[in-house]
Subunit: 452 residues, 2 copies
């Protein structure tokens, strides 16, 4: 066994609640059932109600514990799960007692790392667990689940097996060099290689979607001053569940909050009104608003329909608004319309609204959702979407496959081709974890949450 330590950790959040769970994993587990609960060989997987008694035989709590035999546990080691009354003092008393009994606190991700090392799942599935837990939207959950179910691993194995077949074929070509067969079959091999490379590049491209989901999809409210931007911002915040987030979002020039629309995790920005600056400060505000237009996935352009389209706003933003996804909201629709739609920038849709009206934010959200569904079609979330580490190795694999294609086309010796194919397989092995190194594993698992 690679590691004889028995590790312990709180598996639930450190706060007051009905229940808390502490998990023990490692060779001491069986002995601990005996010393703590006086049960020499508890039935594996059975919930047992017992007093947790510390080393001095004082009752810490009335708990339910479950013993898991290795080979049938999360980590692949003997484990105990203890469910106690959800108070952090009790949690600490139990953890302190377990430390006295020669356990040690687990590092972040150490349970998953052991599960991986014990062959319970591959690295893509291990990463999927961490991604699942830290997901901030249903879309991310859906994406993580695909990998947790092993779909990414299976796809990689499929590609690898094709490359391995090519490898075998080239090795045969070295052993039995018959020129005629060689040229004929090379065409076929080029087809296979092209196919695999194309699939891998599709995976590489998927990482762009993941990035935009991770940071929240940016929706920016822009418009001239006093058009109703802040009212819209507040209305959307108020009516949509706001998401707890630790990034500071408020500066002098814009405010941002996380909200959820449909299954999407949105970072909503309210910007300074854009007009010709009367002071340097105002010009800086406009500068920033223009930057945010650049970064936005969707722009909500709020206009006051009771006044003409302001010419300074138009001139300042004309260029920035080209080729953006814009939803125009003609606010103050209950007043006489003086704005002329001919002057608008090209937009995806225009809504006539009065932001203070009851149904207004629902209408706007529906429109946003329609745009998002177009940008991130539902099916995408059932596709594999790779993370950064996976992408880096996929880029390597794809580069080596491209190299091998070049070598084949320029009729280079099979040995050189084989080397490139081997390197591409190695890159795939790094993704699923059939090749690893300690640094890579440390990097990967330290991003997991405590207790996982």
């Amino acid at each position: 066994m690679y590691n004889a330590d028995t590790i312990i950790s709180l598996a639930t959040p450190p706060a007051e609640s009905a229940l808390g769970i502490i998990r023990i994993s490692g060779p001491l587990s069986a002995a601990l059932c005996n010393s703590i609960f006086s049960l020499e060989s508890p039935t594996p997987r059975k919930s047992i109600l017992k007093y947790y008694k510390d080393t001095e035989n004082n009752i810490i709590d009335h708990v339910i514990f479950v013993y898991f035999k290795k080979n049938n546990s999360f980590t692949g080691e003997d484990m105990i799960e203890i469910s106690f009354h959800g108070n952090m003092i009790i949690a600490n008393q139990i953890l302190d007692d377990l430390i006295l009994r020669k356990c040690r606190l687990a590092e972040p991700g150490e349970y998953s790392k052991r599960a991986f090392l014990n062959g319970k799942f591959d690295l893509t599935q291990a990463e999927a667990i961490a991604e699942l837990i830290s997901s901030k939207s249903e879309a991310e959950i859906q994406i993580a689940k695909q990998k947790l179910l092993g779909r990414f691993k299976n796809e990689l194995l499929k590609h690898r097996s094709k490359i391995l077949q090519l490898q075998t074929a080239f090795e045969a070509a070295i052993d039995f060099p018959e020129d005629d067969i060689k040229i004929e079959s090379y065409d076929n091999k080029i087809l296979v290689l092209n196919d695999v490379t194309k699939e891998i590049k599709k995976l590489i491209n998927s990482s762009r979607i993941k990035t935009s989901l991770n940071n929240g999809i940016k929706i920016v409210i822009i418009g001239p001053p006093n058009a109703g931007k802040s009212s819209l911002f507040n209305k959307l915040l108020h009516e949509k569940r706001s998401i707890v987030n630790d990034k500071p979002g408020t500066t002098r020039d814009y405010i941002s909050e996380y909200i959820k629309i449909g299954k999407f995790n949105i970072q909503l920005f309210d910007t300074a009104g854009i007009r010709s600056g009367k002071s340097l400060n105002e010009d800086l505000g406009v500068e920033l608003s223009l930057e945010m237009i650049e970064e936005a996935t969707i722009l909500l352009l709020v206009l006051d329909s009771s006044t003409p389209y302001p010419s300074d706003f138009k001139s300042k933003t004309k260029e920035a608004l080209l080729n953006k996804n814009i939803i125009i909201i003609e606010n103050k629709s209950d007043l006489e319309k003086k704005i002329c739609p001919n002057e608008y920038p090209p937009s995806n849709s225009t809504l006539s609204a009065s932001i203070h009206h009851e149904r207004c934010s629902e209408m706007i959200c529906d429109q946003i959702l329609e745009e998002l569904d177009k940008l991130y079609p539902n099916d995408n979330f059932n596709d594999i979407i790779v993370n950064k580490r996976q992408m880096i190795h996929l880029v390597e694999a794809s580069k080596f496959l491209d190299d091998s294609l070049d070598l084949i086309k320029s009729n280079e010796p099979e040995e050189f081709i084989l080397q490139k194919l081997r390197l591409s397989i190695e890159a795939i092995n790094l993704i699923i974890g059939e090749s690893t190194n300690e640094d890579m594993l440390d990097m990967l698992f330290k991003n997991f949450c405590i207790g996982k």
Copy 2:
């Protein structure tokens, strides 16, 4: 059955973590094992790894679930515990799905209420669970545990049984009125009644301790200006684990923070320096400091030993400091001593210190701990300490017992005595929950946390 609803709730805190637990309790549980996990009659208490599939057969998560048969579950009803990846979106997906399957979200304390109504424990034990979970110190945990283990209930049953015996005796006296026996045995009955009443009054008194523990034991730092009060405050904060607390503690005139010394939960106050006011504001500050002296359990009087004891401080505080638990800290002990201890108020102990020195706060904490151990001797936390609801009924019980004693002594008819005894038993029954009413139960359980 009193309630046919199947209730559901998150049992762990609503935050990102390795695991989250959802608990289902009620008659639908067995059917849900079948519809969600395709297991018609799962082995009770066994941890089973399964995909949680929603009503449309989509996988929500890979979970572990445990089925508990009624009579062998927390609530006394059929239950399911589902352990999922600790993400709140997943939690909500599962809860939403369970609502579609005809479950409803549980009220706070509803699991415990059902457990109580199904006779799994008495009311004092139900309350102990809530007290255990919300405990902010090891002392409170210890106190709650005594009740959870049924010690309070057992003590009440012992008292009740004595009163019941008296009741039987008085009833016999009515049925067989033989005057001689009556007077003789009444002496004995008075002894028993006195004894029970004394025990009940001891329980009533215990509630004072509980109150002081709940709010944190108040330790107030006082002293003349520039004696080193704030340095001591910061040093104690810095070196002791500070406790998260949601009560605002900072005002213009004092600062307060929660810290832990030994097993005690301390609310530490730093007050304005006390001297003759040069302004009305300063006088108000002094006024407040004097109020806080009044409320303090322990006072840390910080003095600058390199200057004489300030006469204005002495005159302002002389009266307030009488009969208080005072630890005097002669600060700046590395300078020449000019202060005269004869002038000090009566104190429990005097420490010579230099607050900036390394071991100073340890020395002061040791002294505080010694005082606290005297004030709240260790054994106290193994005594029963009642809560407010319990105290109110104990006061009633004790009043009816006093009344019955008076009636006995003034030779009133047994019927009157019996009525008082019955009322005292009724009060005890209300504490353990053998008598209840819906309002009382609602009041009691609504203070529980969600999921318990």
